[in-house]
Symmetry: C2
Subunit: 326 residues, 2 copies
């Protein structure tokens, strides 16, 4: 009898969770382990940059919520980045990549910073030449992709496969979604209710609590910023796309300050106050805002916990890094 | 009878190993685990720099033999470092720290780069203010050092404790030293013999195969370099100390190119050829030099294999990083 009641309760919980606008983060299925290991090394390898000093992990730092916690990133020659670095955590849930959605998927994204003069400042040709001359990489690429030369296509494919594994399951909110009714405090639950009824979930929904659509920043009231990024309009030239950006993921948001594409909001409180005004034409009371923030902090999940990768040494023909050459 | 023979052989091996000029790397004893964990976080935390973008691990990269594999390092504002970054691996075996030996120990060393305007460009006061306002760190410091404010003394002490654990035991050479006579090939053994009889062991000895003394670079023939570093003479003003440097550690040398204080030697072959000429007034045949290189590659030990550290998020009062402010 007790077992039946428990089964019934579990079924009810599952039914309730299925109706929630946010779903639990799940670990990816069918990952290619050898490809993930190769992609992990590439993600941490600064030899993909001209300087030999900037890696994917420099700006999407896996010790810091997948971000650099800067307003905008530092690039080659100490270039100032144009936009706040989005987190790589759970980024496989994004419908498109980059703030303006200009990359269709993680693989297309991965090739961008490598060749961006203000980021890693290499070229795809040079990056491939570097990888092709590192004996340890040649072995790994052959293991995953078969005999033949290393290509940028394979390198970005491996990075993307690694990034697919960068999910953060088992946040307290997910435990609650999955039926542990003691996982959240009364204040956190009240925050979640407020998050729903106020309309935040209109954009911040799905497993990643964002990332599923592109939306206009300032749909009700104008968002004022000195940052010149136009969002999708920078690609389309359409005025209707001005300030239209990929909705940021709210998973692990407590770790990824500062916030917004311009990095202007230093704290979660500031970010919530601004968003509810410009997007929803509302003001929270301080108590209401604190409830939302308490809820947001329940979205911090299990962080990546693999051993620091060991990179294969360069070979005699590997092009030397050029940090200071023009 | 067989057991007795094996015991006798083991005893003989131990006796032989004890007479070798190089001893195995051993794991440190009596480390303070909580202090190591705190120091590990600090080692990876770029908030110890003014920019929030440079950590100890940026130049002493534990994915790359504890170095950055650059001729000289990149510092704040893309400053060009004056000297090749030495490996942090096994650095607890160094008699003194820095190329010129100006720091007595790892703790004294750790405070240097934080406050060096061309490296991390912070100040000890700012670094302490940052740590003191990060709630997760305050808890960790109190756990290790008791109640009271965070101090730079404690921060560098924790970093040094972590660095004590960065040893690389169980290289093939150490397995051989400990009695596994199949651990090395005939060529590698011949290289070790040549390393001894040529006199390389005069400076490169002890567990770290270096680090135990300061010696003049160019004791027989002048070492020609454009690098202005004077070595100990920069501190003492004595002409006898010109180009006197801490003897570099040869452990994991295959991972830490380029070589010498000026990073001028791109390959091990080049480094060996130069050293045997300027220090020992000799020339190796190519075959002899290749034997030495083969031996050197047996010194690569087990690399650090802990999970990537997770850093506590900043608090509301944590000073913002200033990557682009003057």
């Amino acid at each position: 009898m007790k077992a039946m009641v428990l089964l019934l309760l579990a079924a009810l919980s599952a039914a309730v969770a299925a109706e929630e606008p946010i779903q639990p983060i799940e670990r990816p299925k069918n990952v290619n382990v050898a490809k993930v290991e190769l992609g992990k090394q590439l993600f941490f390898d600064a030899r993909l940059s001209k300087s030999g000093w900037i890696s994917c992990n420099s700006c999407h730092n896996l010790s810091r919520g997948g971000t650099d916690n800067l307003v905008s990133s530092v690039g080659h020659g100490w270039a100032k980045g144009p936009i706040n670095a989005p987190t790589v955590l759970n980024s496989s849930y994004n419908i498109v990549q980059f703030w303006d959605g200009r990359a269709a998927d993680l693989k297309a994204q991965a090739g961008g910073p490598i060749a961006n003069p203000g980021e890693m400042a290499s070229t795809h040709e040079l990056a491939v030449k570097v990888l092709q001359t590192i004996p340890g990489y040649v072995t790994s690429f052959e293991k995953v992709y078969g005999k033949g030369p290393v290509t940028i296509d394979h390198a970005t494919d491996a990075i993307a496969e690694f990034e697919r594994t960068l999910v953060t399951p088992d946040s307290r909110f997910d435990l609650w979604l999955k039926g542990d009714k003691h996982a959240l405090t009364a204040q956190e639950l009240a925050g979640y209710e407020l998050f729903k009824v106020t309309g935040c979930v209109g954009c911040h929904n799905g497993p990643a609590v964002g990332g599923a659509t592109l939306q206009r920043m300032g749909s009700f009231n104008p968002y004022v910023t000195a940052n010149p990024s136009l969002g999708v309009a920078g690609l389309s030239g359409q005025s209707a796309d001005r300030y239209r950006f990929k909705v940021p993921i709210l998973r692990n948001i407590e770790l990824t300050a500062p916030y917004f594409h311009d990095g202007a909001a230093k704290t979660l409180e500031e970010a919530v106050d601004t968003m509810v005004w410009v997007q929803l034409n509302r003001h929270f009371t301080p108590a209401g805002r604190d409830k939302i923030v308490a809820f947001l902090k329940t979205l911090t999940g299990k962080q990546p916990d693999f051993p620091i990768p060991q990179l294969p040494p360069s070979g005699p023909d590997t092009p030397a890094p050029q940090p200071f050459d023009p």
